[in-house]
């Protein structure tokens, strides 16, 4: 039996440890807010995941895969994507894009859309490259560009005030064409597009996409198109895929997510679709970073897509039913927020809703000389004192622009009716306290 003496002077490393690529990307809003929600919240409308179950057909597919004779589903599958999954993805997206897609070269499976984004930035962004990011943005874009040594160049969606009496819509947030054009330089490698947009819920119109596409073609820039909420569009709106626009297929990587598509965020199955000329480099990053994705979830997602392929456009399709259900929840939350004096921006898509909380300003104690934007303080105060978790909008802005829109917070409404009702109860009670004091 060997005994290891624990040395009285633990030989600590004296040299600097972490690589420079980690500079400035160590903070993460989710680490902080997920912890707060876990500690204080009674009703969690913060982090974006459903609290209703994934659909039965998907869970049954998972169980079937496990129960089958084939125990090889517990072993490695093809590194760039489990064959049944890439085949059905190629079929499905081929149909949507009006193209013949090769499952082996035009599709790659990743560990969630998150890892797909990582592969894109690592494959295409070198030191000195600029990447245009539209604000507000899903926070990882900025960090990933930085980790790749690139320079994020931000352009905000600007709020055009709606007509008097009308509710704000995510459609009121727009890019200024001249401003957008000015952001493209000879160093611009890529633009990140997220439509439907998290956090605002904006669904970019054909005209807006054409504006972006023209600039991409003119400046020979890549488009990283994060379309994870592609099925969650409301009011009969259409999700348009920028890759289907003139000149765009060859320069676009489309990113999708089983987590958002099938309400199973914990499965972490995502994918990229694009030309082989671009995907070959994503494959290189993938094979040198995670290599394989877990097999069983891919098998189940493949079966989910087989079902949706057969039911496409029909009333039983999950892609028809889910947005229908979520639209009702959206409308319910809009009403609830309006009735207490928060001003919701009605989202055209996604399962997020941003609301103006200026009327509630007085409740959150003033902190002189505070570095934190107001909405951060508000969201933290609200979860601690009211038990309701939401995310401050400035979390989705670059450091320089955190105070641009600091009186908005984001709610996730992919929740059971009971959860939304409980949120409403908290808000109504709060309103009563305010008016009675």
């Amino acid at each position: 039996q060997t005994r290891f003496l624990s040395s009285p002077f633990q030989a600590k490393m004296s040299r600097p440890l972490q690589a420079r690529r980690l500079e400035g990307i160590d903070k993460n809003i989710w680490v902080e807010f997920v912890k707060l929600a876990a500690t204080y919240s009674k009703v969690n409308l913060g982090q974006g995941f459903p609290d209703f179950p994934a659909p039965d057909f998907l869970r049954e597919a998972f169980t079937r895969a496990l129960g089958g004779e084939n125990h090889m589903l517990h072993q490695y599958t093809r590194a760039f994507g489990h064959p049944p999954l890439v085949k059905v993805l190629a079929q499905f997206f081929g149909k949507l894009l009006g193209r013949d897609l090769d499952p082996m070269t035009n599709v790659m499976v990743t560990v969630g859309a998150y890892q797909a984004l990582f592969c894109c930035f690592q494959a295409f962004v070198d030191e000195g490259d600029e990447v245009i990011i539209i604000e507000p943005f899903f926070d990882c874009y900025e960090a990933m560009v930085k980790m790749a040594g690139g320079t994020p160049v931000f352009i905000p969606l600007r709020l055009k005030a709606p007509k008097d009496g009308k509710l704000m819509s995510s459609a009121d947030w727009q890019l200024d064409p001249a401003e957008l054009a000015s952001k493209f330089s000879e160093r611009t490698k890529a633009i990140v597009l997220n439509s439907p947009n998290n956090p605002l819920g904006k669904v970019f119109s054909r005209g807006e996409l054409e504006l972006i596409a023209d600039l991409c073609v003119k400046h020979d820039v890549l488009c990283i198109s994060d379309e994870v909420y592609e099925w969650l569009v409301y009011d009969g709106k259409e999700h348009i895929r920028i890759a289907s626009l003139q000149g765009m297929w060859d320069r676009t990587v489309i990113i999708g997510s089983a987590g958002k598509t099938f309400s199973a965020t914990g499965w972490k199955v995502g994918w990229t679709v694009g030309p082989d000329r671009l995907l070959q480099h994503l494959r290189t990053v993938h094979q040198n970073s995670v290599y394989h994705c877990a097999t069983i979830a891919q098998e189940a997602v493949a079966q989910g897509f087989q079902r949706e392929l057969m039911l496409y456009g029909k009333p039983d399709s999950y892609f028809v039913q889910l947005p229908r259900e979520l639209q009702q929840k959206r409308d319910w939350l809009v009403q609830s927020l309006e009735s207490v004096g928060m001003k919701p921006i009605v989202p055209e898509g996604t399962y997020f809703l941003v609301a103006d909380i200026s009327e509630f300003k007085s409740d959150v104690p003033d902190v002189p000389n505070s570095d934190e934007p107001y909405d951060y303080r508000f969201a933290k105060w609200m979860v601690k004192n009211k038990g309701l978790a939401a995310i401050p909008l400035s979390a989705f802005y670059s450091e320089a622009h955190k105070n641009s829109y600091s009186h908005f917070i984001r709610f996730c409404f992919a929740k059971e009716d009971a959860t939304l009702k409980a949120a409403n109860d908290i808000l109504q009670k709060w309103k009563k306290e305010k008016t009675s004091s």
Partner: protein
């Protein structure tokens, strides 16, 4: 033109080719007995499969969990490894759960290695070490294991590092050394003395140790797996990597972990939160439950950590016997589930094969076509300078069910007969 603007970044230049892409395609033919790629064709233990079936029914387990590792899993890992290591391991700060050990290697290298650094890699090596070090902008520095008995090797223990040669590889630029024990492909289980030599150099040069211990439970009679992190002066500078795939014969679950001091693991966590954020929930929960089952019986011979190596030792011995009878020279591994074999004794003349590939590549391709048996050429696991030294060896994987080994037996017994 569009082509030049959208080329790949510098960091992945030259990293696109891969031995597996070449050989898994070739061996996919079902008529070939596949002893190449390292994946079990035996079933994982039934309780492991059952745990996964159970979690599928729990709604919240289909949604996001904690980014750095599902709480019940990091708790289970900390308990198991506290037992093994005899030291306190904080589940939240000292552990990161990753997408396979592969993901742990990537997170560690991205977190702690950069341009200007040198990283020592022992040859032969699991092939991803070199491209990952290069992708981080650093320079791989190779040192070969050398056969003690002048090429006459019967055991993985015959393969050793020359201490003076190793010391020479360390300099002020050396950021880390990658250690793999039990070793893939040779199956060497580094002894305490050998680990001490490495540890002394790490401490002397203030270097890190990245210790890939995925085969930690697979050690055969007369051998003991020792964790270099437990040597004096090493905990603070070592990241130890483990794998669910190898521990529970579930390579397709792609779950691994890095364990080490908070001041190293926190940087791996930053990489993780900027690469894939979180690992799949249901698999982590099922793995946690499997660990609890075995934790409770860790001193029991029935514990999978002990029963699997016993099962594999029989397969190892059977494989070695069959290879000897066919006139090949196997190197009996002390650990792991691979065996390297010297094929030069067969004197198969492949000089007419045109391709500029090392002998072992040509041999494996010939063996696949004419014998319907696949393996992996050892020079795939070497740096450019050492390919000549290792090109007479090929690697077989023996974590295979009896019927697969039976099929291999038929081929090996008929080896010397005329091929059809």
């Amino acid at each position: 033109t569009m082509a030049s603007r959208h080329k790949n970044t510098r960091r992945i230049e030259g990293l696109d080719s891969n031995v597996w892409v070449e050989f898994t395609k070739v061996a996919a033919d079902p008529s070939i007995v596949n002893l190449g790629q390292g994946l079990p064709d035996i079933s994982p233990p039934s309780y492991v499969k059952e745990e996964l079936a159970k979690v599928a029914a729990v709604d919240r387990l289909n949604q996001y969990t904690r980014g750095f590792g599902h709480p019940s899993l990091v708790k289970a890992l900390s308990q198991v490894y506290e037992r093994v290591c005899g030291r306190k391991i904080d589940p939240l700060t000292d552990i990161l759960v990753t997408v396979g050990a592969y993901g742990s290697l990537f997170s560690t290298i991205q977190a702690l290695i950069e341009e200007g650094d040198e990283v020592i890699i022992i040859e032969p090596f699991y092939d991803c070490y070199e491209p990952m070090v290069k992708m981080a902008g650093a320079k791989p520095v190779f040192i070969p294991l050398r056969c003690k008995n002048d090429g006459n090797s019967a055991s993985s223990a015959d393969w050793v590092l020359d201490p003076a040669e190793l010391a020479n590889k360390f300099n002020s630029k050396t950021k880390a050394i990658i250690l793999n024990t039990p070793h893939n492909p040779i199956g060497k289980v580094f002894t305490l003395e050998e680990l001490q030599v490495i540890a002394d150099l790490c401490v002397k040069h203030d270097a890190l140790c990245i210790s890939d211990e995925v085969y930690e439970w697979l050690v055969y009679k007369g051998n003991k797996h020792i964790k270099i992190a437990m040597l004096p002066g090493m905990w603070e500078r070592t990241v130890t990597i483990g794998s669910a795939g190898k521990t529970y014969s579930v390579t397709g679950w792609k779950l691994g972990w890095s364990i080490g001091p908070e001041n190293l693991i926190k940087h791996l966590q930053v990489v993780h939160q900027n690469t894939l954020y979180t690992c799949p929930t249901p698999l982590q929960e099922a793995l946690a439950q499997a660990f609890w089952t075995d934790y409770k019986r860790m001193d029991d011979p029935g514990c999978y950590f002990h029963s699997l190596p016993r099962e594999l030792e029989n397969k190892r011995d059977r494989m070695a016997q069959l290879l000897r009878e066919a006139g090949l020279k196997p190197v009996l591994p002390d650990g792991g589930y691979f065996m390297i074999v010297d094929v030069s004794t067969l004197n198969v003349d492949l000089s007419d094969v045109d391709e500029k590939q090392p002998y072992d590549y040509k041999f494996v391709k010939w063996m696949i076509t004419s014998k319907k048996l696949s393996a992996i050429p050892l020079s795939a696991f070497c740096g450019p300078e050492t390919k000549k030294q290792f090109e007479k060896y090929i690697r077989f994987c023996f974590i295979k069910k009896d019927s697969t080994l039976d099929a291999a037996e038929v081929i090996l017994k008929n080896w010397n007969k005329q091929t059809i």
